[in-house]
């Protein structure tokens, strides 16, 4: 059969490829090097372009879209400053393994290397913070390169891919036959699709030997949509389960087996159970230093199983006993099958005793806070947010204390609801990320829990929200401090608060109003719930809620630098 070929120019090919990939939104900002592309975007309606106010926000918005949907986020920015502005967002996605395809304009091929107007070496600048990047030098390579970009970004361990496109490649006057490749294989890139069954059996044996087991899961469970399998496994074994900051929602927080987040600001019970466990089952988590604390003191008595699609994550920081390289979902399917067929059961007596110990730690109630305070406690705001939204909102956050409180007090039952920058810890992430979520789920409640420091790093996006009518609910936990910095200075620098006070803050209510939104100032604990209800009732408006919170509040528990998981500072 003959395939009928159409002739398209590079800009049309670009748009057509996005359609073939099922892209519904492109987040971007125009400029000289991408003008041909913008002209092609203008002449069609399927792929919707969202105009942000800063390229950093384009990448974060695409990122929020990707985290909440599981589909790749797509950005388009111009050369030079457009590309450099996008770098923070690319690095943010890279650290959390988020699939993005970022298209950057480039100066025409014959000018590359000439210090041409708005030229930067985008490939060189982004190389250390992408999964891969491509420079397209010929329009005949464009379609195949875009196909590869989406393939690489979304398979294996996901990550951002940059495609740098010189202006002449999208020249409207150069037309070539267009066919989009249906499938692709690359000899140099073959992600693992299944775990080794012998290793799975070995792991199950070890797991059934356990007397004090612990299941520690991370972002890999969320990324691989493996929450159902994980939930089945945990329930079947009745072993305690903890999530990393990136793994929240991977196992429902309201289940009994959930012991909370672990790590630097993890719960007492999760960290103590980690420290004391004899078998640790790590699933799609990467033993980050915020999780392990002092590596010398980490899980001193545990034998460790680790499931991860990236061999480089395994035995990188902590040597493991049973490595399983593979995608979480299929590996857990195999594991459940092996368990079903096994004649052995967990040691019921030991597990009961283990739960008694854990429940003892739970009684410490490490997340309790003063509910009688005359000042608004930030924890209470998140608690109320949970109640008012029935735990059913998407929660995007920025970086700082407010991020930790959102993680600790909004009890996520579903994956892809908690949208935050964990690995890079990028202030300014929250609002644009929330925009990406709201575009994907126009009818959902999307809250952005932020701080007065972070929100100012991408505040210009209030304008984008106005343009597209995004009814995001901004929860500004305003402590008039770069709180996380202040907390460290209080603990470790004898209270020398160097540059951590946010002086000359704007009137956020007026600011929100100036952008055409609703602003609310809440400074009494008694008003918190009613204000949240009122804001949520404004279904089609963005509401900026400025909560004036207790300035001196700290995030507890906390593991100080060099501490083991059992060496927490409690309230």
């Amino acid at each position: 059969m003959e395939i009928r070929e159409v002739e398209l120019n590079g800009s049309q090919i670009f748009v057509q490829c996005l359609k073939e990939e099922g892209v519904d939104f492109v987040f971007g900002y125009p400029g000289g090097a991408v003008l041909h592309i913008y002209d092609a975007i203008f002449q069609q309606e399927e792929v919707k372009h969202i105009l942000v106010r800063h390229e950093q926000a384009a990448t974060h918005a695409a990122d929020g879209y990707a985290r909440s949907t599981g589909k790749p986020g797509v950005c388009l920015v111009t050369s030079g400053p457009g590309a450099t502005n996008a770098v923070t967002g690319i690095a943010t996605a890279y650290m959390d393994s988020i699939p993005l395809v970022v298209f950057t304009g480039q100066v025409p091929t014959h000018l590359i290397g000439n210090d041409a107007f708005q030229e930067v070496d985008t490939i060189g600048i982004t190389r250390p913070c992408v999964k891969h990047n491509f420079l397209v030098k010929d329009v005949r390579d464009l379609a195949l390169t875009i196909k590869k970009a989406f393939y690489v970004a979304t398979t294996g361990r996901p990550g951002p891919v940059v495609v740098d496109i010189p202006k002449d490649v999208t020249d409207p006057n150069v037309r070539i036959p267009f066919v989009y490749p249906k499938s692709i294989s690359m000899r140099s890139y073959n992600p693992t699709v299944k775990g080794n069954l012998r290793q799975v059996k070995k792991a199950v044996d070890l797991m059934l030997d356990a007397r004090r087991p612990m299941i520690y899961t991370g972002g890999g469970v969320v990324l691989n949509n493996a929450a159902p399998q994980l939930t089945k496994l945990v329930e079947k074994l009745n072993y305690p389960c903890t999530n990393t900051l990136m793994g929240l929602g991977g196992f429902p927080a309201s289940r009994r087996q959930f012991v909370g987040m672990l790590g630097m600001h993890g719960t007492y019970e999760a960290n103590m159970a980690m420290h004391d466990c004899d078998v640790l089952i790590a699933i799609g988590a990467r033993f980050d230093d915020r999780v392990t604390g002092n590596i010398e003191k980490f899980c001193p008595t545990a034998r460790i199983v680790h499931i991860d699609i990236d061999p480089a994550s395994i035995s990188k920081n902590v040597k493991v006993d049973v490595p399983i390289v593979g995608p979480v979902g299929p590996v857990l399917d195999d594991m459940l099958k092996v368990l079903d067929e096994s004649k052995r059961e967990p040691d019921a007596e030991a597990i009961t005793a283990w739960w008694e110990k854990i429940d003892g730690w739970r009684e410490k109630d490490c997340l309790s806070y003063d509910t009688q305070s005359k000042l608004i406690k930030p924890q209470m705001v998140v608690d109320k947010l949970y109640e008012v939204t029935h735990g059913d909102a998407f929660v995007a956050s920025d970086v700082g204390q407010h991020q930790m409180w959102a993680a600790q007090y909004y009890r996520f039952d579903l994956p892809r609801r908690w949208i935050n920058s964990g690995g890079l810890g990028t202030m300014g992430f929250g609002l644009p990320a929330a925009m990406g979520v709201q575009f994907a789920y126009p009818d959902a409640t999307v809250a952005c829990v932020t701080g007065e420091g972070s929100i100012q790093m991408c505040i210009q996006e209030l304008s984008t929200c106005k343009q597209y009518g995004l009814p995001i609910k901004i929860i500004n936990l305003n402590n008039r401090y770069l709180g996380m910095v202040r907390q460290w200075q209080e603990f470790f620098y004898q209270g020398r608060y160097s540059m951590s006070y946010m002086d000359a803050l704007p009137d956020f209510v007026k600011l929100a109003e100036a952008y055409g939104h609703v602003g609310m100032l809440i400074d009494k604990p008694g008003d918190v719930e009613a204000a949240l209800k009122e804001a949520m009732a404004l279904k089609d408006r963005l509401v900026f809620m400025d909560f004036i919170t207790d300035q001196t509040e700290n995030v507890y528990p906390m593991i100080p630098a060099g501490g083991g998981l059992n060496e927490m500072i409690l309230v």
């Binding site: 190389r127 250390p128 420079l135 000899r187 890139y189 990236d310 061999p311 480089a312």
Partner: protein, 163 residues
């Protein structure tokens, strides 16, 4: 400790900088690096010499494998292998030193490839230790210039690295 790693990678612009960038970003050291196209012009072959304990070498090979441009990789040190490096050496060669240097390069099975009234330029091939030994044997006062290719390596016997 010392590992010699062979890598087949896509012969594309930027592939080499992905490898060298990985080493600098992650703080691994590169003792030497040799790279050239293979019989298949779409592939380059790289030989990389590095040092590290087992855990570091394990991370290095895993991180290299992760690079999208890396097609295949082999740690030659894990099996029997042959290592060769080529060196060009220019030395001062006058009066009695001429005989002395000639004798030395013969012992090391190298060759003099260019001669002037006052200099010898020599070529010597072998593993890196042998080249080091030659340089130690030569009177440092005579040494004018040294050019080393970096090690190349290949496994012995049936073991081979192909795409």
């Amino acid at each position: 400790m010392r590992h010699i790693i062979s890598i087949l990678l896509e012969n594309e612009a930027g592939a080499l900088s992905r490898v060298s960038g990985l080493f600098s970003a992650r703080g691994y050291n590169i003792e030497s690096l040799a790279v050239a196209p293979t019989e298949d012009p779409s592939l380059s072959r790289m030989t990389l010499v590095t040092r590290g304990d087992d855990a570091i070498i394990e991370q290095i090979t895993k991180q290299l494998n992760k690079l999208v441009d890396v097609v295949k990789l082999q740690d030659l040190t894990e099996g029997a292998h042959i290592e060769r490096e080529m060196m060009l050496v220019k030395s001062r060669a006058v009066a009695g030193d001429r005989e002395e240097i000639k004798r030395l390069i013969d012992i090391f099975r190298g060759r003099v490839i260019d001669v002037t009234d006052t200099t010898y330029t020599m070529e010597l091939t072998g593993d890196s230790d042998k080249l080091d030994a030659f340089l130690r044997a030569l009177d440092p006062k005579l040494l004018l210039e040294v050019v080393r290719s970096g090690s190349n390596g290949i496994a012995r016997g049936e073991r081979s690295l192909r795409a």
